[in-house]
């Protein structure tokens, strides 16, 4: 009985749900939608991410190997990163997970792993890009439902970042349309973007790289949304949200200093006590 209840306890970890949603999206993308995802890239990213996490676990002398977080990072990367070079896909996964162990401040990693990898590769080579327009409206509809289901299931715990980001970004888009006199169809169309949803639900939502207090997270989401809007609609550069997140990451320690809160632990009673000593990965 005890064993079963422990297993059920584990399933409370929202990451299982995230992995389920992301995996079905990857399968749908590779199989049905012609997203431009190569399955070789997908496998390489997942394998590299797990391997680097394992090495990192040894390096940081963590008590146990945790495959869930690197899996989420790997799946998000698979969905967002496009490249024809398998080596670059592997590099992306290595940079993502490696940055978690190497770039740290006060017991937290500074940059969102998948975000760090995307921006590094996009700046360093012209062989990597993000295809934000490659989602049909049917895919976006299904995906939105899955994401909303996630909020319901987790009772929106720590979901302030996602909700605040989407609300603020949407109000900036609708505000812009109102100012320009554009029809509502335009901001609605701009919100129906698969990459934007992945970003909101699986990247900026990462509790490990957002401020510890709820108010801090809302403030952080507002900063990211505003910078994303400026990049996308004032400087007319693509991938506004992804660039905005990396630019805003250094404000997290600052916000943490101003607004105190508790460092997030994934719902996993058995690992919690041990992990806290070493910090969170």
């Amino acid at each position: 009985m005890k064993a079963i209840s422990r297993q059920l306890d584990r399933l409370k970890d929202p990451r299982y749900y995230q992995i389920g949603v992301l995996t079905s999206l990857v399968c749908f993308g590779v199989g049905a939608l012609d997203f431009g995802i190569h399955w070789q890239n997908a496998l390489t990213i997942v394998a590299t991410a797990l391997a680097v996490q394992f090495l990192g676990t040894l390096y940081a002398q963590l008590p146990r190997f945790d495959p869930l977080s690197p899996l989420i990072t790997a799946l998000s990367l698979t969905l967002l990163l496009r490249t024809d070079e398998v080596a670059l896909a592997a590099a992306a996964a290595a940079i993502a997970i490696g940055s978690k162990f190497l770039v740290r401040f006060r017991g937290k990693h500074v940059f969102n792993p998948a975000n760090m990898a995307l921006v590094t590769l996009m700046l360093a080579t012209d062989q990597a890009w993000v295809s934000s327009g490659q989602w049909g409206s049917a895919a976006i509809g299904a995906f939105t439902l899955a994401c909303l289901g996630f909020l319901v299931l987790t009772r929106a715990r720590r979901a302030e970042t996602t909700i605040a980001f989407l609300l603020i970004y949407a109000s900036l888009l609708f505000g812009r349309a109102a100012w320009l006199g554009d029809p509502l169809a335009i901001p609605l169309h701009q919100m129906q973007n698969g990459a934007l949803l992945i970003f909101a639900f699986f990247m900026i939502s990462d509790p490990k790289t957002t401020p510890n207090s709820a108010a801090g997270r809302v403030l952080f989401a507002a900063v990211v949304a505003t910078i994303a809007f400026v990049i996308q609609f004032i400087y007319y550069e693509p991938n506004g949200p992804i660039l905005a997140l990396i630019v805003s990451a250094p404000t997290v320690p600052l916000i943490d200093m101003l607004m105190r809160g508790r460092i997030y632990q994934w719902a996993r009673p058995d690992a919690r006590a041990e992990n806290q000593i070493k910090g969170v990965y």
């Binding site: 431009g36 496009r82 327009g133 490659q134 989602w135 049909g136 006199g181 029809p183 400087y235 007319y236």
Partner: protein, 444 residues
């Protein structure tokens, strides 16, 4: 893109050339832009934030009636405008067109390995000074006015859309109703308006019988095509072809899905005679399958070569004239086997209207250099004498023909029975159609 109405009837030009051997099949025919009515063609040369846009149109009415209004992101100087050569755009069209190729079955009795593998009626402008005065009084600034080739060109900015629209209407540019909101939006985004009409005097001096494409070079982060003004004409859907020439790789839209058309499919022999119908039907079906909201990729290739070639690659000189500023303009012809000259071409085809394309097209250059072409294959069965028992060969050909019929029906939505009726099955035997389950056509 432009307020430009073209009333040309579709000419079905199927170009048949003598074939040359190629690994990817013998080239038979192509589906070029003349297949579709009211097609606009735009060549976009883009590197970093430098853009050269070439706008070609199939306008065939009275040239006095031609006018074009295009929002542009920056002020445009005289040297930034050029009148291009229509033949080069036609060459680019031919080079990038979806193509039909053919293979001939070898004698089945011989054994060797087969290689597989808005315009509108526009009055002549009034005199310059009077025009500028009238413009100022309506809050419109004529930032520049140039005569380039056969075109009179103005660069306009305005404080308000009302004045600009009134001014354009007063000066013979008939702006569609509902344009106010769109023009307002562009003005607030700090866009200027590039407007052009034909200078009849210059045109008769130059002696061209058709309108040459207008070219504009500018620097801006905006990598987009403004299509919203064009969707205001309540004239149904419009066809737009975008040829992007870049240094790095394929171009795609960031705010709409870019979809590859089905390719490398074997189709029955008779498609050779109706390739234009085939391509139109297939494009219609694919458009509907994407809920009419997708941009289609028809070609993505390194400009240095092609296989099979629907036309030769463009020479460095032609590319330079299209605005590809990073290739040398020494006029040297590029041979088919020359190494990559660092130009990657993407051909996009979009059928748009206001309902399905509310926003302007926004593009990005990707690092994808994988070659893609719309290629459809016919295989001619061996029709010569055979010196052995060919029963087995003929049975295999009939299987293939059955498969081709089904593939054609899937691609185009044509009725499978009609298709089968047109096929000359090998050995003269028409195989019985596979028995369909009784519910297959129950609800259509």
């Amino acid at each position: 893109m432009k307020i430009l109405i073209s009333t040309i009837a579709a000419l079905l030009t199927i170009v048949v050339t003598t074939s040359a051997q190629a690994f990817c099949g013998f080239y038979v025919a192509r589906a070029d832009t003349s297949l579709f009515n009211r097609a606009s063609q735009v060549v976009l040369v883009r590197d970093e934030n430098r853009t050269v846009i070439t706008m070609a149109n199939d306008f065939e009415g009275e040239v006095a009636d031609f006018a074009v209004v295009v929002p542009v992101p920056t002020m445009i100087e005289r040297e930034q405008i050029n009148v291009g050569d229509r033949a080069i755009v036609q060459h680019l069209d031919a080079y990038t067109s979806p193509r039909l190729v053919e293979y001939h079955d070898p004698d089945p009795c011989l054994r060797y390995d087969r290689m597989e593998m808005s315009q509108d009626s526009a009055a002549l402008p009034s005199t310059g000074a009077a025009m500028k005065r009238a413009a100022r009084s309506q809050g419109v600034t004529i930032e520049a006015s140039y005569t380039v080739g056969e075109y009179d060109i103005l660069i306009l900015s305005a404080s308000q859309s009302d004045g600009l629209i009134r001014w354009l209407n007063d000066n013979g540019y008939r702006i569609p109703r509902g344009a106010k909101r769109v023009v307002d939006s562009y003005l607030k985004q700090d866009m200027r308006f590039f407007v052009a009409k034909v200078n009849l005097e210059e045109q008769s001096k130059l002696g061209y019988q058709y309108l040459r494409p207008l070219q504009v070079a500018y620097e801006s982060n905006k990598f987009m095509l403004p299509i919203r003004l064009g969707t205001l004409n309540a004239r149904g859907k419009q066809e737009l072809y975008v040829y992007a020439l870049t240094r790095t790789g394929r171009v795609e839209t960031t705010n709409y899905r870019t979809v590859k058309l089905p390719t490398n499919t074997e189709v029955p022999e008779f498609v050779q005679g109706e390739f234009a119908d085939f391509y139109r039907a297939m494009f219609d079906k694919q458009t509907r399958a994407e809920n009419e909201r997708a941009v289609f990729l028809e070609y993505a290739w390194d400009m240095a070569w092609c296989d099979p070639c629907a036309a030769d690659p463009l020479s460095a000189k032609e590319l330079r004239q299209l605005g590809v500023f990073w290739v040398g303009g020494n006029g040297k012809q590029v041979s088919k086997i020359a190494p990559a000259q660092n130009v990657f071409v993407t051909r996009l085809h979009v059928r748009y209207d206001r309902e399905h394309f509310p926003e302007d097209l926004v593009f990005q250059e990707t690092g994808d250099r994988q070659n893609y072409q719309g290629r459809y294959v016919i295989r001619h069965p061996w029709k010569g004498e055979t010196s052995c028992d060919a029963t087995q060969y003929q049975a295999s050909v009939r299987d293939r023909q059955q498969r081709e019929a089904q593939q054609l029906a899937n691609l185009t939505g044509w009725d499978i029975d009609d298709i089968r009726a047109k096929i000359q099955f090998a050995g003269g035997e028409r195989p019985l159609p596979k028995k369909e389950p009784w519910w297959k056509r129950l609800w259509g």
